[in-house]
Amino acid sequence: MALLEVENLRTYFHTRDGIVRAVDGVSFSLDNGETIGVVGESGSGKSVTFYSMLGLIPMPPGRIEGGSAKFDGQEILHAPGPVLQKIRGKRIGMIFQDPMTSLNPYLKISSQLIEPLQIHENMGKTEALKRAIAELERVGIADAAKRVHSYPHEFSGGMRQRVMIAMALITRPEILIADEPTTALDVTVQKQVMDLIRARQKELGTAVVLITHDLAVVSGFCDRVHVMYAGRFVESASSKELFTKPLHAYTKALQASIPAMQKKGEPLFTIPGAPPDLSTEIRGCAFAPRTENHDPAKCPPDRRPEYKEIAPGHWVQDCPCCVQL
């Protein structure tokens, strides 16, 4: 049995301007120690998928409309607050995009670091502080015993992200969800942070979910990659297969827009158009309007393409105009 099993998750936001179908039927599973990537543009629903599972979206306006999510065999969708609180920060750790704003500027690093231990393990302050210092050393912060008493603003962006990683892993969680962990960082620091996550994962055997808009980050890092668009997965395969044999036009377009893969001197490739407005129901294929192959005759406008396993372990939204074998 997989560690995390999600079936047909749907999360909608009921706003004044209509219902936004942020996550509209997502299924996947995650095994112990596995690393998966979820790739998509901002607004594709990749963060909401995981936030809603863990009860981290504001409700209202957010609402989980259906599906199931089993963590270690236990259904966590619609689980009462206290149940989720015991899982969050204890068995599932999270790090976020912007380390500048994700740490509380009013509290010392020390008190933020030891908080998970105090809450989940009823650990005393002195012991927790020892653990915190050790954890800081493990994420590569020099002079940890002294710096643990600093405030966040005394740390650089990369250092803060290290602190976030230490804080997320201090309880030895089974899953680490990393939501765009390098997007807000300098390019030079990005690799260090990714290497750090990798190294800590190896030591602890944690399963990692990497949420990113950057296909390049995912390539060497993940075992399996899910590409998300307009609230659904459009393609999913092992990392290797997805890079060598992408099927869906959106995956190809994402790949084409990685700057390093383009020829020098040519204008950067960008995907034409904008993601669809999710506050109106999408009838046909969500990506069809943005692909050059779009042919209304081939592409039924009244039903969404089926998500099918086309090759072993390779799933794709079977839209006649977007998928070319």
Binding site: K86, F96, D98, N104, L107, E115, I119, Y151
Partner: protein, 311 residues
Amino acid sequence: MFRFLLNRLLQSIVALIAIISITFFLARAAPGGPFLEEKAIPPHIVKQMEAYYGLDKPLPVQWLTYMGNFIQGDLGPSFGNKGYTVNEVIAQGLPVSLTIGLGGLLIALGIGVPIGIIAAARQNQFADYSLMSLAMMGICLPTFVTGPLLSIYLGIKFGWFNATGWNEPSDWFLPSLTLGVFYAAYIARLSRGGILDILRQDYVRTARAKGVPEWRIMVRHTLRGGLLPVVIYLGPAISGLISGSFIVENIFELPGLGTHFIVATTNRDYTLILGTVAVYAVLILTMNFLVDIAQVYLNPRLRSSTAPEKA
């Protein structure tokens, strides 16, 4: 940080001198004088009295003399209250005003902050809407409406308190309540807004992701930043409480500093006007200074930088 506070202190002293000087020249520029109203006094006696009090000297000289005495804590004789010095009048009125002002502030914080916290925690729910409508009503009911109502109902109709006067220990309550209700409403709105601002921050999401229970998020992660606007507001609130005390002392017929001040302005009692204004200015500036210190204390980011964010 110490440079910043020193800067603020110097600025306060400049402001104090400015306030006293402006009041000094403003009062003198106005037509009329302390002795002109009393027609019974013959002109040469007025002259004599003016000479006695030094009112015949050139204005800048009078100003220098006044400032010199002020530094030594001597505010001069009161023209309106014969036989009393300004220091004595203030010593009598200030405790009254301070008591009701402080009482008002405590009531305002005691009611306002909890209401703000509850409303923020129950954002967009029934409790939020009803508490905030109540607060808005409180803001729109000025002290001169609530004061008489409280005086009549709690004072005369129910007889729980004295409707007016300053004789019994419990006499501070109605005036303070009148002052406090208005500010409670304002503080409730401020604290709700401040807390909601913090609840929207990324680091609150981090705390939730750590599995921190909601009450602990409120207490440990939110209140400190969320109540900062309230702390900052305490500075201007003092000015407001002072002008509120004019009204409240009028309604409840209290022998406070505000009453003395209003009487002094109508009597052209120059020294008493200046004295009361100086006391008010010191109160306001001290409070602003304390707020600055509190702000630096509460916000670690300010401790290493030089200037606080302005409200």
